[in-house]
């Protein structure tokens, strides 16, 4: 026993330091993004929608001939890039959090029911998950938005209906693990109702695993929204989604690469931050959500 303890200790220590640094970096990125998202209207130096055709494609601060009024330059319509970037953060976070919440409600409900009830119900749940996984997400989301016309609400609904699979998979497997544990049996014996056992005993005990999935789903939803917006079937213009900013700037990227570099870096850093935070949470809870 002492041998295993020593081994575990020597392996873990350097890892812990490295891991917790990564987690803190992730948390810091997510914190800044959340702050920008909530206080965007107060933070933006200019109106993100105001065009100024006399000031088109001004370069950002690290290049020569920059305008101190526009730190990150302006886009092809003369709109302040920093303001649009901050507003875009608001949109990304809104979509990430909303989609993750709604799809979480769907996925957790069916996953917990399948895992807890077993039998026919579980067969149906498993079938739903299998079917959902076989559907190409980007293509279906594009088709729905393309056929119905792009709007923020439609985008949120479509993504929420498509991204519940990982919640369901994890909720189902973790529920199966706790279903037969002693405290559940004790709750049955104490005469608790099925609903009470599900909400008071099962859910709190699988919540940490679900929190990890939630962070990963936020990142996935943000990436998907950017992809759909980039393809012109996501957030409708003139809203400054980062994907849409890249799409609109694409025609100028060969002459001024920074127009796609800035929103792309923002997107990349935010998703990386959320993933780092998610990985940190996973290690903290000792949860296994890898398939």
């Amino acid at each position: 026993m002492s041998v295993t303890a020593v081994n575990a200790g020597s392996n873990r220590h350097p890892r812990r330091g490295w891991k917790s640094a990564a987690t803190w970096i992730g948390a810091a990125i997510v914190g800044v993004a959340a702050f920008c998202a909530i206080f965007a209207p107060l933070l933006v130096p200019h109106d993100p929608f105001a065009q100024d055709l006399g000031k088109r494609l001004l370069v950002p601060f690290w290049m020569e001939g920059t305008d101190p009024q526009h730190i990150l330059g302006t886009d092809q319509l003369g709109r302040d890039y920093l303001s649009r970037l901050i507003w875009g953060c608001r949109i990304s976070m809104l979509i990430g959090v909303t989609v993750s919440t709604v799809s979480g409600l769907i996925g957790i409900t069916i996953g917990v029911l399948g895992g807890f009830l077993g039998g026919r119900v579980d067969d149906a749940v498993l079938f739903a998950i299998t079917t959902r996984l076989s559907i190409p997400v980007v293509l279906v989301a594009l088709s729905v938005v393309g056929l119905l016309g792009s709007s923020m609400t439609l985008l949120l609904v479509t993504l929420s209906l498509l991204l519940w699979d990982r919640f369901a998979v994890v909720a189902r497997s973790t529920t199966m693990q706790v279903r037969n544990l002693d405290y559940i049996a004790a709750a049955w014996c104490a005469g608790c109702s099925r609903f009470r056992i599900l909400t008071r005993e099962v859910l709190p005990n699988i919540a940490s695993h679900l929190a990890v999935v939630a962070t990963l789903e936020i990142a996935l939803a943000i990436l998907l929204e950017a992809t759909l917006s980039f393809l012109g079937l996501g957030v409708p213009p003139p809203l400054p989604s980062w994907g849409l900013m890249i799409a609109e700037a694409k025609d100028y990227m060969f002459f001024s690469p920074w127009v796609i570099v800035i929103p792309g870096v923002a997107l990349f850093v935010l998703v990386l931050g959320i993933n780092l935070l998610g990985d940190g949470l996973r290690d903290q809870f000792g949860a296994r959500t890898d398939q």
Partner: protein, 305 residues
């Protein structure tokens, strides 16, 4: 083994049937398709004519069973825009998408297998952490953005590769790399985990005790066992890549199935859209089935499940 096969096949068919229904419902969500097909300047008579010509005046259920009945025999209907059979349109575009998907998968395997093996051998070293960091970066990278960056760097500034098109095999390199990025994180992690597990097992200790060389132990003993889940996941990853290639085909202007779907969505050409959704889903289902079978063949313990 036979029971396993039959059960797996029934599930696959049920999934295909469900996807078929969903694809049909999805394309009817927008209400009256005849209005959008006829265009904004159409008169009531035009709309009625369109409705009749495409059979949209029939009851929904009749349309549905008509579509299913034909789709089962491989007839996916006619495209409104191209005025051709959807099956031949998809057949024409499929080679580009398949080439892209397989290129992406090969690049992903070429990168993730060595990275995963080396990370496992040097578990908890700086190299291992560097590999884990690379997988994190791969996960966070928006594929369309990576594609644009590669175009700027390798296409424009260095001039090494063509920016778009498929005239030569070089046109597939950049899109293949971008597509591979989506699979590299999962495949690397899986290889690493599998190798770590295999290296800790008894038969590796036996092989070491026999005095076999390090390379022989790694490649002949450990890798063979670690490769089973990797091969299965690679098959599934190919399915994901084919479904996700719509983005990359659009970025690099490759005229594959994804590009066809994108064009058709813009033109309200719903027979093509629902057919592409169905075909990609069926390919995915077939690949996951193949992966399950492969697992069962390679690992007899799974056959009972």
């Amino acid at each position: 083994m036979f029971r396993f096969l039959v059960r797996r096949l029934i599930v696959a068919l049920l999934v295909a049937a469900t996807v078929m229904t969903l694809a049909f419902v999805m394309t009817r969500l927008s209400g009256d398709l005849a209005i959008s097909i006829a265009g904004p300047s159409a008169t009531q008579a035009d709309i009625t004519a369109v409705r009749k010509a495409y059979g949209l005046d029939r009851p929904m259920l009749t349309q549905f069973f008509d579509w299913v009945g034909h789709a089962v025999t491989g007839d996916l209907g006619n495209s409104f825009f191209f005025q051709r059979r959807v099956s031949s349109l998809i057949g024409e575009r499929m080679p580009v998408t398949l080439t892209l998907g397989i290129t992406g998968l090969l690049i992903a395997l070429l990168v993730s297998l060595p990275l995963g093996i080396l990370a496992a051998v040097r578990e908890n070293t700086v190299f291992d952490r560097a590999v884990q960091f690379v997988t994190l970066i791969g996960q966070a990278m928006p594929s369309f953005w990576l594609g644009l960056l590669l175009m700027i760097i390798f296409g424009l500034q260095l001039g090494w590769l063509p920016i778009s098109g498929t005239e030569s095999w070089q046109g597939f390199i950049m899109p293949g790399i971008v597509l591979a990025f989506s699979a590299i994180p999962a495949l690397t992690r899986l290889t690493r985990a599998g190798m770590i597990q295999a290296m800790g097992s008894d038969y590796i200790r036996t092989a070491r005790a026999k005095g076999l060389s390090r390379a022989s132990i790694l490649l002949k003993h450990a890798l063979r066992n670690a490769a089973i889940p990797v091969v299965a996941v690679a098959a599934v990853a190919l399915g994901f890549m084919l479904g996700g290639s719509i983005v990359i085909e659009q970025v690099f202007a490759l005229h594959g199935v994804g590009f066809l779907a994108w064009e058709s969505i813009a033109k309200n050409d719903f027979p093509v859209v629902q057919a592409v959704v169905l075909v990609l889903s069926v390919i995915y289902v077939a690949l996951t089935m193949f992966a399950d079978l492969l697992n069962a063949v390679l690992d007899p313990r799974l056959r009972g499940a």
